[in-house]
Assembly symmetry: C2
Homo-oligomer: 112 residues x 2
């Protein structure tokens, strides 16, 4: 699997994991975040490698479907870019203002 | 139904309507946004008043469940408050800066 695919799945998982079943969550976490192989997950859960593979493929589709409908991840990326531009504009044109800086930081932390 | 309930359902609907079925969407929109009565919706769709009522009650639960898991609406409220505070801090302490103002406005428009 590619690094782009891994990064995307880990990102979508951050936003939508609460909508998954416990099994879907566990498999995705082991495979994408903890880099377990399909065989290792199968051994751990005492199921076939194919069952793990099918579950993960289905979960990937579910995560992409949620992103298509809610676009939480793409909104997050756009918002982060805007906040960085705001910080840059402030840093280049104004004296440091802790009140403003803390408020802007708080925006980035809302989802976390 | 109370105005608080109506406002909350309209707000949750804004964030999660894409996760509902077409029927759930239609009933919720007619009942909460367009102020149709259960009887009027029932007549429009040629189903019983009870069927409309049950569908709406179930959809309300589904919306609250999504909010419990994803808190998009409560995050939005927190973010709006922060953006308003940032605007206030800028207005009270700095000369108008269109670049900054546009970037901050853009943050508010990401979800829309």
């Amino acid at each position: 699997m590619t690094i782009e695919k891994t990064n995307r799945m880990n990102a979508l998982f951050e936003f939508y994991s609460t909508l998954l079943t416990e099994k879907q969550m566990n498999y995705m976490e082991l495979y994408y975040a903890d880099d377990y192989s399909l065989g290792e997950i199968a051994a751990e859960y005492e199921v076939s490698r194919q069952a793990v593979y099918d579950n993960i493929k289905r979960t990937e589709k579910i995560l992409e479907e949620y992103e298509r409908k809610l676009h939480l991840y793409s909104n997050y990326v756009v918002r982060e870019e805007l906040v960085e531009k705001i910080k840059k504009q402030l840093a280049e044109n104004y004296e440091p203002d802790p009140t403003l800086f803390n408020l802007i930081d708080a925006i980035q932390e809302v989802e976390e």
